[in-house]
């Protein structure tokens, strides 16, 4: 090949962003498109577990071995996205001894460091564990921030020359002479799309190869080129608690079942999950029983959860895939391994590769496989460097020092900002003006919000995902208007664009909270509603609702005939 091969990567989740980074680092010309925000699909809707592999050590040893390998890589290259919490598989008296032993042996066979703890030792490590937990296996599970990870991958892809377009839909794949040669793209438009790139345009993009990295949506994209990709979307609920009841990932040690994991995450803990096959990845019922099940079942591991405050619940869809000949009935039986589908080989259709199955923990390995495959196709000789080169933000993690004095930030705010930003802390926090806290629950300052707007454009949901602003106890009640103010203050965005972004964030925060509306969180929701509607009149804003006859309203006790300011006696007895 004489010229640089060009590749379109469809899907801005962990896999797509990882593929884009890898290909760009190998010198290919890459365009990444995502229909929503980065992580809009499955990646942004997971429980944030960086698997040790322990979970799959019995049923799915190949996946388990991949997990522990990648776990080690990501701790290194994505240090600012990972919190090394460690993990426990805890056994209740009614859980099988035999399975416990098989789990332990499975971990050993897959090279996963595992150690047996007595119930008492496990409780010394995690004091809130139920008193009747009788044994536990400790493994190197960890927590990972999927959004931070994907943003870092996308940013590095861009730094290596890739073009990244969010809010961009693939409306068709172009097939000529039995080969995929490009795609029809539609770039979002209008204030609700909050697009950075080519707003409102349609674009025909011709490329040498297309990578379908759309996870649960892979079947829909495959169909555009006339190939079947039989992904089986399976939904799972995650319930967010307002504090970390545990500092270690707690798994229940039993073969399979719903509601068997708790993942500590920044200030919160996430309970998961269910596993239910659904028809379509974007439309499925979000049901009350699923939320109740999380609390009831996981209270058996950590009794404090029964009375604890939940902030919200959200659902994700797994992009499960298995070769057609397997035909599992139950989605929990389907392997978590990934599959690279070379459609030239498989369907006689050149120019298209799909990557399906897998999980966030192995995203980099999946990307490497795709990049190897694409490079081989074009005869490009370039080694994969993604396992060795740290992501932006993780280059020099010694920066996790005391930044409080340096940036004039109080201790917890400064520490948390630096943890989120990693080696980018200096660049982001070193600002000219004052740097007040915008989101108090999550200790997010103006500098971080402004940095996120610079990266995400006028999309406050993307700002939320980059910074965690509005994700704490108040679920945005005290800060969404401040975020809107920061967006308006940032640059050239019209007031109408800001208002749309503001309302979209309010609605997004509301959607998850609906599943947590009792007790403290119902009180919080009522307060948020009062602040937004009663104090702010955000629900009946005349700017949204049309003309007001201002002259018909009270003009003050003095009417329109006003004395000048100096003579304004009035009563000075206070106000």
């Amino acid at each position: 090949m004489s010229s640089t091969p060009s590749v379109l990567v469809v899907g801005g989740g962990s896999t797509g962003a990882g593929v884009a980074r890898d290909l760009a680092m190998r010198g290919l010309e890459v365009t990444l498109v995502e229909q929503g925000n980065l992580t809009h699909g499955t990646t942004g809707r997971m429980h944030g577990l960086l698997h040790s592999g322990g979970r799959y050590a019995v049923a799915d040893p190949d996946s388990a071995a991949e997990c522990i390998a990648e776990n080690r890589v990501l701790r290194d290259i994505a240090a600012h996205c990972v919190e090394m919490t460690g993990g426990l598989f805890v056994k209740r008296p009614e859980d099988s001894e035999d399975y416990f032993e098989r789990k332990l042996r499975g971990c050993e066979d897959c090279g996963i460091p595992a150690e047996v703890l007595s119930g008492a030792d496990a409780r010394r490590m995690e004091p809130r564990l139920a008193p009747d937990i009788d044994r536990a296996i400790s493994v190197p599970d960890a927590a990972i921030d999927p959004f931070r990870l994907v943003v870092a991958n996308a940013a590095d892809a861009e730094a290596n020359g890739a073009r990244v377009e969010t809010h961009t839909t693939v409306t068709d794949l172009l097939v000529e002479g039995g080969e995929v040669v490009g795609a029809e793209l539609e770039h979002g438009s209008g204030p609700d799309k909050r697009v950075r790139g080519r707003e409102g345009e349609r674009e025909t993009l011709r490329v040498d190869h297309v990578v379908n990295a759309t996870g649960a949506w892979a079947g829909q994209v495959g169909k555009m080129a006339g190939v079947d990709v039989d992904v089986r979307p399976s939904k799972g609920v995650m319930t967010v608690m307002n504090v970390r009841q545990v500092d270690t990932v707690v798994n229940r040690c039993r073969p399979k079942g719903d509601a068997d994991i708790i993942v500590p995450h920044e200030t919160a803990a996430i309970l998961g999950t269910t596993d239910e096959e659904v028809e379509k990845p974007a439309e499925f019922p979000e049901e009350q029983w699923e939320v109740d099940l999380m609390i009831e079942e996981l209270s058996k591991l950590v009794p404090a959860l029964r009375e604890a405050r939940t902030l919200r619940s959200f659902w994700g869809v797994r992009p499960l895939y298995e070769p057609p000949e397997v035909g599992s009935e139950d989605p929990t039986d389907i392997t978590r391994d990934f599959f690279l589908l070379d459609h030239a080989d498989r369907d006689g259709l050149g120019g298209l590769t799909s990557i399906v199955g897998g999980k966030l923990t192995t995203y980099r390995m999946m990307a490497e496989a795709v990049a190897d495959h694409v490079c081989a196709r074009f005869g490009v000789r370039a080694d994969c460097r993604t396992a060795d080169e740290p992501l932006p933000g993780s280059e020099d993690f010694s920066v996790l020092r005391e930044h409080m004095d340096e940036f004039g930030l109080r201790s917890p705010v400064g520490r948390r900002s630096v943890e989120r930003l990693g080696s980018r802390a200096d660049e982001v926090l070193d600002t000219e003006g004052p740097n007040p806290t915008v989101c108090e629950c999550e200790a997010v300052t103006r500098a971080e919000v402004q940095d996120a707007i610079a990266g995400a454009g006028p999309d406050l949901n993307a700002v939320r995902l980059r910074t965690r602003a509005s994700m704490g106890n108040c679920q945005g009640g005290f800060c969404v208007h401040r975020m809107a103010g920061e967006l308006h203050g940032y640059g050239d965005y019209d007031e109408a664009v800001v208002r749309e972004a503001w309302d979209a964030l309010i609605e997004e925060r509301w959607r998850g909270q609906r599943h947590a509306l009792w007790g403290e969180q119902l009180s919080q929701a009522a307060l948020n509603y009062a602040l937004q509607a009663a104090t702010g009149n955000r629900d009946r804003d005349p700017a949204d609702e049309g003309e007001v006859d201002f002259a018909a309203f009270d003009g003050g006790p003095d009417g329109t005939e006003r004395p000048d300011a100096a003579a304004d006696g009035g009563d000075r007895d206070g106000d």
Binding site: Q288, D292, I295, G408, R410, V413, P434, P436, T437, F478, H481, G485, H488, G489, D494, E495, A496, V498, I506, E507, R514, L517, W518, A525, A526, L527, Y529, A530, L531, Q532, A533, A534, T535, G536, N537, R538, D539, R540, P542, A543, E547, V548, F550, A551, A552, F553, D554, G555, G556, P557, T560, R562, A565, A566, G570, D571, R572, D573, G574, D575
Partner: protein, 430 residues
């Protein structure tokens, strides 16, 4: 041996304070028990009566005219429009420095987010900012105060179609303030003698005016976030106005809200002056009742206040429940039920908690209408519609049947029902 009074009010928000004031002014021996800091610190300090009809019609020019059209279950229908007027008259008389009593019409007040909202009474500090006033306006924000972005608010007001030119400017507040200083810190500096600018001490009001003056242009009034003084807000405004040569007003904000705190202070002062006893800081945790004979004749005998773990009894002839709604924790809930925690009064609600809310953030939320139902005398009723207790009335947000956030009716309902409950209790004990 219980601590006795004739009328005992539980709750220190607007409804509790108004009921205690109404009862005390009617000559009753009144005691008010308030657990935590008043939820008024969360409130804007504006006194809304009715800004929108339940169907969303509005902003309403005349709140009183719309009251007879409200649904039967609405607390305004229980007390009637005349009582609403009487309650407001009590408020106007007792609370200095509020405006709006000169007219039945609502005012439109700019909000910190930049829209306008209809309200019936507003602090004098907001007066010069009314949106029906056509004078050119400058909004002023402070660099570190993230709750109010002046340029955003100005652009938003323009989008709302206000009949005046408005610009926003952000300035650095003079003096050495931390980036995350609270609103009370700004207020204290403006109240106080001076700040240090370039090594010399100058008056904070003058220094602030100097920052703003170059931006004033033709504007005849300047709006600031609601931090203009705590002890002497009128003096702060006057000082700024003199230095600027323009009227000065505050834009109400969310919590912690200085106008809300000032309002609470005024009401506590008025209550003190009326001779009521006030105790704050300890929760009412239980009660004892006596069942005389038959329905409606059960009477609350005493309530218990938790003081450092001890249950101290307080007895009265008449009780008023003004503990607030879901926000103020006068209503509590779990995954199955909603309840009123002090007296266990019946709170009607759907069994399935997925029917407690609407799908949109600003949809028609059933939870917003949660609260106790009452008879015509404001006595909470049980599931059969019978009074829970013969001598217990409820006022304010603990009442069900209205959505104060959508209607902009929270303060008005608290004042009207507080007034009615306080007066009725005083009549019984007289």
């Amino acid at each position: 041996m219980a601590i006795d009074s004739a009328v005992l009010v539980v709750g220190g928000g607007l409804a509790g304070l108004t009921s205690a004031l109404a009862a005390a002014r009617a000559g009753a021996d009144v005691r008010l028990l308030s657990h935590k800091r008043s939820t008024l610190r969360n409130a804007s300090g504006l006194v809304d009566v009715l800004g929108y009809a339940p169907d969303g019609e509005g902003p309403l020019v005349d709140p009183f005219g719309a009251i007879p059209e409200l649904p039967d279950r609405h607390p305004y229908r229980t007390v009637g429009v005349e009582t609403v007027r009487e309650g407001l008259a009590l408020f106007d008389d007792a609370v200095p420095g509020y405006r709006g009593g000169h007219t039945d019409r609502n005012a439109l007040v700019p909000t910190h987010g930049g829209t306008v909202k209809p309200t019936a009474r507003y602090p004098a500090s907001a007066e010069a900012g009314l949106a029906s006033d056509a004078r050119e306006t400058l909004l002023v924000g402070f660099e570190a105060l993230t709750d109010f972005d002046a340029a955003h608010a100005a652009a938003h007001l323009e989008a709302a179609g206000v009949p005046f030119d408005v610009r926003g400017v952000t300035v650095r507040f003079p003096g050495d303030l931390r980036a995350d200083a609270g609103v009370t810190r700004y207020a204290a500096l403006l109240d106080g003698d001076g700040v240090t600018v370039d090594g010399r001490s100058v008056g904070a009001r003058q220094a602030l005016a100097e920052q703003v003056k170059p931006h004033l242009g033709e504007a005849e009034r300047a709006g600031f976030p609601a931090v203009l003084g705590d002890d002497d807000p009128a003096g702060v405004r006057e000082g700024l106005a003199d230095a600027l040569g323009a009227d000065v007003f505050e834009v109400p904000m969310g919590p912690p809200s200085l106008p809300g705190l000032r309002l609470a202070e005024r009401l506590f002062d008025a209550l003190d002056a009326a001779g009521a006893s006030i105790e704050t800081g300890n929760p009412v945790v239980g009660y004892e009742a006596e069942d005389a004979s038959g329905r409606g004749s059960t009477r609350v005998e005493r309530v218990f206040v938790d003081k450092n773990g001890a249950d101290i009894p307080y007895a009265a002839e008449q009780y008023i429940l003004a503990t607030g709604g879901l926000v103020g924790k006068g209503l509590d809930s779990d995954r199955e039920t909603v309840r009123e925690p002090v007296f266990g009064c019946h709170v009607p609600h759907p069994e399935d908690r997925y029917e407690w809310f609407a799908d949109d953030a600003f949809g028609d939320h059933p939870f917003a209408r949660f609260g106790v139902d009452t008879d015509g005398d404001l006595r909470p009723v049980d599931a059969r519609g019978e009074p829970e207790f013969g001598n217990l009335r409820a006022a304010g947000s603990v009442l069900g049947g209205y959505d104060f956030a959508a209607e902009k009716s929270g303060s008005g309902v608290s004042i009207a029902t507080g007034y009615a409950a306080g007066r009725a209790a005083a009549e019984v004990v007289a």
